[in-house]
């Protein structure tokens, strides 16, 4: 029997996880109905979906607030992270002196310092953004630095033999070679920027016009609007997946001509 769709890698790549998801949702719904679980304990997927539709304007508004912080934090992380990497590769001394502090930022629990940052920075958007940057910047720094350092030593010898300057070495050799590492960093960082934004908002508990999805979850849980809580949670995860997919797409776009990660292998 000929099943061309099954053999299509791209189709399977999308269809397989979707199928697993649908099966999971079905099982969830059946369990909730069969055991007659109250909505305020565990709503079924259908009632979550209904809640998503009913509360869509409010949820969308909250999503936009969270997205704004996420994107701001992500862009700042990328810019500062790349700048830090470029600084680090200038000399081992600089890297040795500063890298521990980059790690320090990474290992400090954001929930512990978020209240401080929220006190110090008056503007809510910026205080949340700073928290998210602290979460998201490290993968950019560590991956980009690693990439900029991972140069074929022979190519480097060749550049030196032809008396290439540091600038040429950076632009023609180090930066192109670092791109796969950089994009690897972006994938992790984009997710962390979102998590950072949500976590910071939980701590800040900002309501009103600047309420994001995290506040939506908090508020819903106080009011026992569990389906709405799930709907907000769904939007957060969906955003995370979309961000990840966006990074994969960007990475493939940039690397498709030469890097193994962006190529489909034919046998």
């Amino acid at each position: 029997m000929n099943l061309p769709l099954i053999k299509n890698e791209r189709f399977v790549q999308v269809a397989a996880p979707v199928l697993v998801g649908l099966l999971f949702l079905l099982l969830w719904e059946i369990t909730v109905i069969a055991l007659d679980v109250p909505k305020y304990v565990l709503p079924g997927p259908i009632s979550i979906f209904e809640s998503l539709i009913d509360n869509f304007p409010a949820l969308l508004k909250a999503l936009l607030v969270t997205l704004k912080v996420t994107f701001l934090a992500f862009i700042i992380s990328v810019m500062l992270g790349v700048a830090a990497s470029l600084l680090f590769i200038q000399s081992k001394w600089i890297e040795m002196s500063l890298f521990p502090y980059a790690i320090l930022m990474q290992v400090t629990p954001i929930v512990a310092i978020a209240p401080l940052i929220i006190i110090w920075v008056n503007d809510t958007t910026w205080s949340l953004t700073i928290c998210a940057v602290i979460m998201a910047i490290f993968p950019v720094i560590s991956n980009t630095t690693l990439g900029l350092r991972s140069v074929d030593p022979n190519l480097l010898s060749m550049f030196r033999m032809y008396r290439a300057g540091r600038w040429q070495e950076l632009v023609r050799l180090r930066i192109p070679g670092a791109l796969p590492y950089f994009f690897g960093g972006l994938r992790i960082s984009s997710g962390l920027a979102l998590i950072g934004a949500v976590v910071a908002e939980f701590v800040a508990g900002t309501g009103g016009a600047k309420a994001g999805l995290a506040y939506m979850i908090l508020q819903s849980s106080y009011n026992l609007q569990i389906p709405k809580m799930f709907a907000a949670l769904f939007l957060i995860t969906a955003t995370g997946i979309l961000l990840f997919a966006l990074m994969v797409w960007l990475s493939n776009l940039a690397l498709r001509n030469w890097h193994e990660s962006a190529m489909t292998t034919e046998y």
Binding site: N154, L155, S157, M161, Y162, G177, L179, N257, W258
Partner: protein, 283 residues
């Protein structure tokens, strides 16, 4: 072989011009030592002249310092003792205007993100050669290595042999007269290697280059070289120089000739003797 008129007299070079051939040395290495930071003696007392127009092979087992010696000749890395002199000011490894040296690595060492043309173009870009001039020279270099139709391919789309050709084209594009080649065909299959051997010989003859060629293949060394420098390991050193006194061009006939076999035997014996000496030194 004649000496270019522009060359200034160098008394040391004249004094030491002993081996076969009348041309003056392009590179003079005197008692070169190289000790790495971890204490490994990579090279001990290496003395060698490379003369204009020669095809010299450095032959030996791994760890004999042949690549180290080649890299020192290219000006990559300092010597721990002894001296290396380049014949002309322009040969001062990477002299600004008179640069005439090119290095071919063991691996193709291409930038995977750049198409073949852009890879070949790299030395010209680094030298700020004008666009029109560069394009012309790239065409010529690609043509010389038989890659005219692959300028727009990415390295990964090429076979190993073709990648090596691209790497050679990148060396050619600067129009060097001294080529330093570090086991360039070591990773290739035998048929490709033979083909590239013939190609490099032809390019060498057509362009009047001087080539220093590192290899661990006795056959390759004998087939290509006008002189084979036999080296031994632990410590890395030169043990013997064998002149391959056979006319060029060489071809398939030479590969199956009696004298080829005889030279191979001679070189192999020298290698074996050298390695047994190494054993004694260690014992």
């Amino acid at each position: 072989m004649t000496i270019p008129e522009s060359v200034t007299a160098d008394s040391r070079a004249a004094d030491n011009d002993t081996g076969p051939g009348t041309a003056r040395p392009v590179i003079q290495a005197r008692n070169v030592n190289k000790v790495y930071a971890n204490g490994t003696i990579a090279l001990q007392g290496a003395t060698l002249d490379i003369r204009q127009g020669e095809f010299v092979s450095l032959l030996g087992p791994s760890g004999c310092g042949k690549s180290t010696l080649l890299r020192i000749m290219a000006g990559l890395g300092d010597v721990s003792g002894g001296s290396v002199q380049w014949w002309e000011q322009g040969y001062d490894v990477v002299g600004d205007k008179g640069r005439k040296l090119a290095f071919v690595f063991q691996n193709a060492t291409l930038m995977p993100w750049a198409r073949v043309r852009k890879n070949v173009r790299l030395p010209l870009d680094l030298e700020h050669v004008s666009e029109a001039d560069a394009e012309q020279r790239i065409d010529k270099a690609l043509d010389m290595v038989g890659l005219s139709n692959f300028g727009h391919s990415y390295p990964r789309e090429l076979s190993g042999g073709m990648q090596m050709r691209a790497s050679i084209a990148r060396a050619l594009v600067t129009e060097p007269d001294l080529m330093l080649m570090d086991e360039p065909f070591g990773a290739l299959d035998e048929m490709t290697r033979n083909k590239l051997n013939d190609d490099i010989l032809k390019l060498w003859q057509d362009n009047g280059w001087t080539i220093v060629f590192v290899t661990h293949s006795v056959y390759e060394a004998v087939y290509l070289s006008s002189r084979v420098v036999v080296m031994a390991a632990r410590p890395g050193r030169i043990v013997e120089e064998i002149t391959i006194d056979e006319p060029f061009p060489r071809g398939a006939d030479f590969r199956v000739s009696q004298s080829f076999a005889e030279y191979c035997r001679q070189v192999s014996e020298s290698l074996e003797k050298a390695s047994s000496m190494g054993e004694e030194v260690r014992a």
